[in-house]
Symmetry: C2
Subunit: 423 residues, 2 copies
């Protein structure tokens, strides 16, 4: 058992921060929070106390949508349209992951950069390649960080050299499940790339596996208009894009992440609400590709869970802190475009999405309430705090102006995480 | 005379980069570029050669819209609406600049942060306070950086304690002009805060001074809908918001910067084109305040000059590199919202806005063509360039992923600029 002393910030609810100036978090040997305190209770007077001085201590970031094999393409070709971007950059890059040596070099950098920017858990797409996907699990496990890894299924409308058969995908997933079974913070997730790239047979097998193994699901949803039209053609019996997943048991029958949801209509909205499907908001990606702005306020008002994703490499950075400020900015844009009907978000709401809301997909993660995994960041913002800002303003300035230089300690499930090795 | 060797990038035209791998820039003793070369001509074989190895060398950034006295508020209260943000944060902060000691502490940090992020010249709003404004000129001059400083005029619809009379403003400007007369890179600029905060008398005097002293002008234009309505009420004879300035000789009669232009209509568009008025695009500010997205593609197509601004502190950072990537992102958003009618921008176009287009307001600034001031940045992107990226991709990755850590040298008018002192 240990106690950490610092300026503590977290959001048990979206509405407001809990702020404890020079407060304490007590963490049990299981890596979970016992509780937070304004002053340390006598019963803990003999446990080890780590004092972070005037630094801030907050829940770590969770990235609920990221493509690990697009690591090399981060920050390039951002002035292209979706299709040339996919065909010229994304697909050729993903093909390289048949080479495990290449995969290792890139995946180690990928895990390092998650760590560097303060993301301790992520829901990750790999490629169609089981060996490279198992390797990513090894690297994440070696780093003591958490995540769900999804071997991508794609057996139609995909470039040659980047497709798998239903049988290959199924065997690859079983291999990945066995491989990760002994890794406490790593698990697998069913990952159809999206409806257009999966045959009904593939979707059927995926839905059955989700049910039989009780595995979660992740995919893309209603990212842009032409994609929605395409899905209508491919799945004419589905009442909306989301229903195309739903008909195969891939839309909330087990916990489900759907990235983007920029153009979710009434029907899909209701289906997400009923099935408790997560909308994963990836604002930098939506800006870079010119997808549109997801109606996050409406999702939140309806009780649809919302998380944040970097969507590297359509997203232009790993920082979920950056995703927080883009979320606030895009909510302001939605506000003005809706003639002020859709209210924008508060800082605490956006922070909640990145921490407790996103974290909930991994269990009790993303808060400092009792029983939550101690996933945490220590932030030395002394250079930014030159004029006695309030604690909430210090956090806000860090979110807008800070970077990895200010992160001095990172914890996942109670354990301090040091820089993962790169090769 | 000196020669610099590095990987050189610049944009003489918006359409494409000039890229010189391991090329040379020869700079004269007047601080201006003689020319760039793929290999060094014999005639320069005896001049001093500074070799930056594999680093990138590019024109420095120009910030054409920034409020220096909002420095302290950078990155706070970004989840508020415009009016509470102004009344609770901005106006009370600007009032503090009657205190020259306070002004010095903040203005030194302001200049330091411009420098840190690679901005060598800026068009700056101060406050109504002449003494603090002269002090900012001193600090910028001491740093050997360039800029235009505008004492703000505001004599109506403004909070008590933050207004000046026409006479006070005129005297303050004359004081500032005398004060900066001997500073080669510093000059003054006529600065009505915006139409609603200036009486016709103030605007009259400003227009006359712009004409008599041949001074440039900067203000705000068509930032949001309610502001436009307000201007219509205040200046019923004006055919559009821009015409309200135009009627007083403050709209292109001398070189003019107008920030935002999110809702510029046909009439205003034509007036800007005819009068060669700059649209200063401040994308992070427009996102943070939920103003809207300026039609940059349309401005560029019409030949209206466009520059970029940080608009600190409504904008959430000093980095004009960040403004470049937000410009690209917002252009993609405009593209999708216009049903793909308004084409988005290319990387070279956005870079051009930040360098040669913005720089042109200060003279021959922002390019490495012969005769241009050598305002330059040296970027060590070796950590980002781990996989043999092309030179243009290296620049793009720096723009999306880089920060001040990667800037190793900064030049303004041929002189290397070291970190300005803070107190």
């Amino acid at each position: 058992m240990k106690a950490y002393k610092a300026n503590i910030l977290y959001t048990p609810t979206p509405e407001r921060f809990v702020l404890l100036e020079h407060g304490y978090v007590v963490v049990g040997d299981d890596g979970c929070v016992v509780d937070t305190y304004a002053s340390l209770p006598d019963e803990y007077s003999n446990i080890e106390l780590i004092d972070f001085g005037d630094q801030m201590l907050m829940p770590a970031m969770n990235d609920l949508h990221v493509h690990a094999p697009q690591y090399r393409n981060l920050g390039i070709a951002m002035d292209m349209e979706l299709l040339p971007w996919l065909n010229t950059y994304t697909f050729p890059e993903e093909m390289k992951y048949s080479d495990v040596k290449y995969a290792e070099r890139m995946y180690r950098r990928f895990v390092h950069d998650l760590w560097k920017l303060g993301t301790m858990r992520a829901a990750i797409y790999t490629t169609i390649h089981p060996a490279a996907s198992c390797l990513l699990a090894d690297i994440l496990h070696e780093a003591n960080m958490g995540g769900m890894i999804g071997l991508v299924g794609m057996d139609r409308n995909s470039p040659e050299g980047l497709t798998n058969t239903v049988e290959q995908w199924r065997e690859g997933m079983e291999q990945l499940m066995i491989h990760t079974a002994s890794m406490p913070l790593i698990s697998t997730i069913i990952t159809p790339r999206f409806i257009p790239s999966c045959t009904p047979e593939m979707l059927n097998v995926m839905g059955r596996m989700a049910h039989d193994k009780q595995l979660p699901v992740q995919s893309h949803l209603s990212e842009n208009q032409s994609e929605i039209e395409w899905v209508k053609e491919l799945e004419p019996l589905a009442s909306c894009y989301g229903d195309a997943y739903n008909r195969y048991g891939l839309f909330g029958q087990t916990p489900t992440l759907m990235a983007h949801c920029c153009y979710t209509d009434k029907e899909e909205f209701e289906l997400m609400r009923r099935n408790h499907v997560f909308a994963v908001h990836c604002p930098t990606s939506n800006c870079n590709l010119g997808s549109g702005i997801a109606p996050i306020r409406r999702f939140m008002n309806a009780g649809i869970p919302v998380a944040l994703g970097s969507d590297v490499s359509a997203g232009s950075g790993f920082s979920i802190f950056r995703a927080i400020h883009y979320t606030l900015q895009m909510a302001k844009m939605k506000w003005v475009h809706s003639n002020h009907r859709d209210m924008f978000l508060s800082l605490s709401e956006a922070f909640y999405l990145a921490t407790k809301s996103g974290g909930s997909f991994f269990g009790k993660v993303g808060s400092f309430e009792p029983g939550y995994a101690f996933d945490a960041l220590v932030v030395d913002d002394s250079q930014l705090n030159f004029d006695n800002y309030t604690l909430q303003h210090r956090l806000e300035r860090y979110i807008y102006l800070g970077d990895d230089r200010h992160l001095t300690h990172r914890f996942c499930q109670g354990q301090e995480i040091t820089a993962p090795r790169i090769v």
